[in-house]
Amino acid sequence: MSAILAIYQREMLILRKRFFRQLASIAISPLLYIVAFGFGMGRNLKVGGHSYMEFLIPGLVAMSSMTQAFAMSSEINIARFYWHVFEEFQAAPIGNLSYVSGEVLAGITRALFSVAVILLIAAASGVVLSYNFYFWLAVSLNAFVFSSLAVTLAMLVKSHSDQALLSNFFITPMAFLGGTFFPVNSMPPWVRYILHFLPLTHACKAIRAAAFAQPPLYSSYVLLAVLGAILFVLAFNCVNRARD
């Protein structure tokens, strides 16, 4: 437990040192999307009986929790390839499980922090949604999935540029196609079929349903939990591959 806390505390100390920089980088994208899509394009738009802003906020919550949780991969790679701090963890008498747990927890915390920032922006914009237990559960599961994916990929890549490539090919397309900005159901059937393989699509659906106080979409919760668990085990098995 002490080892998990040490890994987690290290990430939190770094986050604290960069608090205002981090806050600005977390807030800027959702703020731009809210201004451009919410106030600009979607002012008179209705989606499923809700204003576009009400539709957009849960999507931004899903997207931001995904990107912030996945950003752990960059943090790990900077520690690994640039600062060499990863060597300190490798030389310590800690198990791979402790290392992965600490980093995944840190990713989830970052994601929750980013969600809190978005909800504050939403509140300031006059958007009222339901932030119930299922809302936070869906956010946490989404963060768990992408945090575990981040640790897995961070252990497998051989350089920092490989990491950027993975973000460009997986995370950015998912951010735009996973139901953040538009309802997936309005897409042609074959596109809808493909998009249902994206974890973010399920996270968006679950978070949005919870935010609209609709009955929870249990299948999405199960899918995210199972995928998160698989990626967590994968991350655990990949730690040794980061050795020379």
């Binding site: 002490s2 100390l13 960069r18 600062w83 030389a91 310590a92």
Partner: protein, 281 residues
């Protein structure tokens, strides 16, 4: 035995970085691993400290196998890597605290040890300074303090004075000597000849992944002679070794020319074994 290696090999693709290294280091010994860049010094330390996996062979630290009992083996050792691997954005104290936590040290013990070690490495006033504000020499001392946090039985020092100016290097040497006096076994890699001569109880010369000689510095040097006579020729230098000074002087008288007479050092031993210098120009 505190450190035991048996036929340790490491392959990077088709390149054989270590080609069957076997050695033993006793308790309280300061063992130096000397060789040019790329000879396999860092690879050995990385394998022993869990940063790299051996391709074959075995190694034990204080009786614990480095792979089969990796957690217990890692508890026995502290490591100062060649790269500065401190968290630059965190303070000196935060770096040491996190290390103590990784080694499951209780908070009270951590606090006492940090105070004690920063006094020991003479940077007690920098406890709350960000690492990025420290000089290279200070960072090295923080790394040594961090490696000693959990009172390891074995300390691995991988080129601990690389890139430091001579005055700072000598301060680090004094520190290393005093750590050994406290009973810690030290495994030191270096390509500074004078560092190995000054510090080491025994020296292993490594060349192209294999140990070419292993003994005390004194025995290694005595094996080739006590005096080295450098003769500067047309663009090259030839060195002849002698058992005593009189023989060297006789050689100068008999041959004439421009000579330089000096004591034999470990560099001479390495050149006589491999035909090249430890520190490549």
């Amino acid at each position: 035995m505190m450190i035991r290696l048996e036929n340790l090999r490491k392959l990077y693709g088709k390149v054989e970085a270590l080609r069957g290294v076997s050695l033993q280091v006793g308790e309280g010994e300061l063992f130096s691993y000397l060789g040019p860049n790329g000879s396999g010094k860092t690879t050995t330390i990385r394998i022993l400290t869990g940063l790299a996996a051996a391709s074959s062979g075995d190694a034990w630290l204080h009786g614990f196998h480095i792979d089969k009992e990796s957690v217990q083996a890692k508890r026995q050792c502290g490591v100062v890597t060649q790269n500065i691997n401190l968290d630059n954005e965190l303070s000196v104290g935060e770096n040491l605290h996190l290390h103590g936590k990784l080694f499951q040290m209780p908070r009270k013990e951590r606090l006492g040890r940090i105070e004690e070690l920063l006094e020991y490495v003479e940077i007690a006033d920098r406890l709350n300074s960000a690492v990025k504000s420290l000089s290279g020499g200070m960072k090295r001392r923080v790394m040594i303090a961090r490696a000693l946090m959990h009172s390891p039985k074995i300390l691995f020092l991988d080129e601990p004075t690389a890139g430091l100016d001579p005055a700072i290097r000598r301060r680090i040497w004094s520190l290393v000597k005093s750590i050994q006096k406290n009973g810690t076994t030290i495994f030191l890699t270096t390509h500074y000849i004078e560092e190995a001569e000054f510090l080491a109880d025994r020296v292993a010369f490594l060349d192209k992944g294999i140990i070419v000689a292993l003994d005390t510095p004194q025995n290694l040097m005595e094996a080739i002679g006590a005096w080295a006579l450098d003769k500067v020729g047309d663009g090259d230098m030839q060195t002849v070794y002698f058992r005593n000074r009189e023989d060297a002087n006789d050689h100068i008288t008999a041959n004439g020319g421009s000579f330089s007479l000096r004591r034999v050092n470990l560099e001479d031993v390495f050149i006589s074994l491999t035909g090249k210098k430890v520190r490549q120009q």
